[in-house]
Symmetry: C2
């Protein structure tokens, strides 16, 4: 990373608000002292916290605003009434090139519509997707969409595959990332039409990743692919189920190790290893969902995260911003679209409804 990155922070988002954001920024700064911050929010709440972290105070500019977007607010309402909210002002800072990225733990829907309105989508992208890193047997996998789009047609899935591949290549350093479409079986005949058509398109076009076919839920944690593509409903359920199972097992392990004196001694001796496991499984390590497809780096931190989780969301955002990610995505998208056009895949494309049917004819 070269130069100074400036991170715009919505200090009022998330369950803990500034109590997580300010110590989180201080922690991120201690790990990457070149960072600068623009902090948006209520100064009466932020200043006392900032005083505790003189280094952060020095690296930050505080922009006061009374207004903030609540967790319950409908996105449309937030868009109309939240023009001076900490969330909106932080996004504006990215649009005005005062900041390189924005991180917020606030209302996901509101953050998404504001980011789309203010930062716009990359050329050729209709609907951005939320992408996060997940731990797997082989390191980390990027998965999208995790909840921005409940229903996705084949073209959206193809776009997600491209976005995810560029992310895996540019930010994660995979030369040719492997891509899988999440399905309920690996055979060609399985699944929705949207998925089958997306698979046919991904088999025909050249893009920065390597499409390897359908994958199933168990393939995600096994690390079968570098990029997992799915619709926002399925992705969100899968992600949260994974979190729940991880909690369940750590709970069962604790209970097991308390059942006999011998097990307790064993657990005591192995406590270093067990702590290490707990750390590896810590969901805070994987906090941060990027809105891939928005023309600007906008990262959502999970609303329930503490400062450690928030610091990781800052790290995640700064890694993306440092790599000039969106410029590279835009170039790749343009190239793929040109191919699709020359293949005639989208000739008969019409707004929404008839599109999948038209594509089906073309590719089958």
């Amino acid at each position: 990373m070269s130069g100074h990155l400036t991170i715009a922070l919505d200090a009022m988002g998330g369950d803990l608000g500034p109590e997580a954001v300010i110590p989180g920024a201080a922690l991120a700064l201690s790990k990457n002292p070149s960072l600068k911050f623009m902090i948006f929010g209520d100064e009466s709440k932020i200043i006392p916290l900032l005083k505790k972290y003189p280094q952060l105070e020095q690296a930050s500019r505080l922009i006061h605003t009374d207004s903030f977007v609540s967790a319950e607010e409908k996105p449309g309402v937030a868009l109309r009434n939240g023009k001076n909210s900490s969330m909106r002002l932080a996004i504006n800072a990215v649009a005005d090139k005062q900041a390189d990225c924005i991180v917020s733990g606030g209302n996901t829907g509101a953050l998404m519509v504001m980011a789309k309105l203010v930062l716009k989508c990359l050329p050729g992208i209709e609907r951005p997707a939320i992408a996060s890193l997940l731990p797997t047997m082989n390191g980390e996998t990027v998965m999208l969409d995790l909840g921005a789009n409940l229903e996705c047609d084949s073209e959206m899935l193809v776009q997600f595959a491209i976005l995810g591949s560029v992310y895996a290549r540019v930010v994660r350093g995979h030369a040719q990332p492997t891509v899988g479409l999440l399905n309920i079986g690996s055979e060609d005949m399985k699944g929705h039409d949207e998925i089958k058509i997306a698979a046919q398109i991904l088999n025909q076009i050249k893009f920065p990743g390597k499409y390897i076919g359908f994958i199933e839920g168990n393939d995600i944690p096994l690390g079968k692919v570098d990029v997992v593509v799915t619709d926002g409903f399925t992705g969100n359920v899968a992600l949260k189920t994974a979190e729940g199972v991880s909690k369940l097992i750590s709970n069962m392990l604790k209970r097991s190790l308390k059942k006999s004196p011998l097990a307790m001694i064993g657990a005591f001796l192995a406590q270093g290893a067990l702590k290490n496991l707990k750390k590896e499984m810590d969901p805070r390590l994987y906090n941060g969902g990027m809105f891939l497809g928005v023309d600007g780096v906008c990262v959502k931190s999970h609303g329930g995260m503490d400062h450690i989780g928030f610091a990781n969301a800052i790290k995640y955002a700064s890694e993306i911003a440092a790599r000039n990610f969106n410029v590279r995505v835009a170039a790749e998208i343009a190239e793929v679209m040109a191919q699709e056009k020359s293949l005639g895949l989208y000739d008969q494309m019409s707004p929404e409804s008839g599109r999948d049917a038209a594509l089906q004819e073309k590719v089958s």
Copy 2:
């Protein structure tokens, strides 16, 4: 359990075929000596195995057939060409009241279409769902659909809620099981229309369960509800993701415990507890998916299961068959449908497409 239950077994289904089915039946019999079996399949493969288990041989009737349904066969083809297959003959045995239930590790799609054709659906049920038990923080939860129906309209989801509730009450002994609809947020405004309408209907009708609202993926392993209702695509992905995460964590744990001599000694001392955990997490314990809604007990064993898993599928099937489950479901379904009719929920119901819109008007 009283009397003798007879289990029809498709000995040729699953990756291991008779090698899993016969020892699995022997294991199930050793735990429940009152069971009887009808074993369908290739006698040249089955008899040598059966010879190893004299008790099972005595409790079984072997019906020879050369024909079987392969894992790759399309359901329609299996239906036409598989009239003498081990799978089909085993299902026929249930239809002819020679057996109380059937267990197969074979092709899921073929098993479903054959079961529907031969056993028929319960009155009022359009599309059966696959239901399994899952381990949670509070014991076990039943979840459906796990893959029979990729897309589900609101009425199907309501039916699944009823089926799952009767199952939880009759087989699991919950007086009034709690039911949740799987969604990507707990607020009313979240999710697909199908889910929102199903929620409105479940709030209005009386049924054997208690509808508590939307739940999220992490609520499944936490045991927030006794019955998790979702479409077959989402359910299948969530289930398999949970399996994968469980494998990932047990792998990480093993690796962690090998990292230092102290951890290895600790693991040695705690080996009883760790084995216990492994056992609690063992997916074979939860093997067996019931086709809820089919008028006859038909249980699918996971194709990759060994004899221990297959024995658990037999146990699962026999518990359901022993409780006269389908008679009780049929009565509950009839009652709920009468209510829906008197509430006028389905008056304007038309075949498929316009239905959700009609319901939307009625309930909102």
